[in-house]
Symmetry: C2
Subunit: 127 residues, 2 copies
């Protein structure tokens, strides 16, 4: 496939990796805050586009899952973008239920900061 078609075309031509997956970044539709990162196979991508709810492929469980099916925190997808080489998507969502995306009970999965610079690397919990 020519790069031009992939990068400058209007056709959805997702480039799944060797495991049949693309990366899916989930962000809050209002604040843009990144909430989680997951993966989609072709069927999860199709279902998400068709239903406007977030479906993913679990690499650990090797199964499809609809986010919020048990927790109630369904991802209502208001917009979805794809990147230049079509191997990653970005979902803008409203989180149903209590609005918490992470299974640990936090709003976002990215709740710890990595110390930067030389020296010992540690994690610090965000406010």
């Amino acid at each position: 496939m020519h790069d031009k078609e992939l990068e400058e075309g209007t056709a959805l031509l997702p480039r799944f990796d060797a495991n049949g997956l693309i990366s899916a970044i989930v962000a809050d539709e209002n604040t843009g805050e990144v909430l989680m990162l997951a993966h989609m196979n072709e069927e999860a991508l199709r279902r998400t586009i068709a239903t406007r709810e977030g479906w993913f492929w679990s690499r650990s469980r090797k199964a499809m899952w609809k986010k919020g099916e048990t927790s109630g925190n369904v991802l209502q997808v208001s917009a979805m973008k794809i990147d230049c080489d079509q191997d990653a998507v970005l979902l803008s969502v409203r989180v149903s239920g209590d609005g918490k995306t992470c299974h640990t009970g936090r709003r976002t999965c990215f709740y710890r900061s990595i110390s930067l610079g030389e020296g010992k690397t540690t994690l610090r919990f965000d406010e």
Copy 2:
């Protein structure tokens, strides 16, 4: 490894996949806009933390690369977070040079929206 240590600890314990990689989301430090998604192996992660500049592993070229080494658009990392299960990081950056992250000359790699709902799926270029 216990989930508790992974999710509630202060030790960096990155869980690299079968290819030795974790996902790295890059966002603008001021606006939070997602600019690109790439991958890091252990060495790219180490260099990024130590130097505060964005290093990645190219899956297509099978090589380390420092973002901006040729374009000048180096990613100055001001903060870095890791997710609950430690297989994805989120970099807050200031982009050096002309501030354009995407190799197509755009500010972000996510410049096309996917049409949602049933029916034919197409891409639309953002403003």
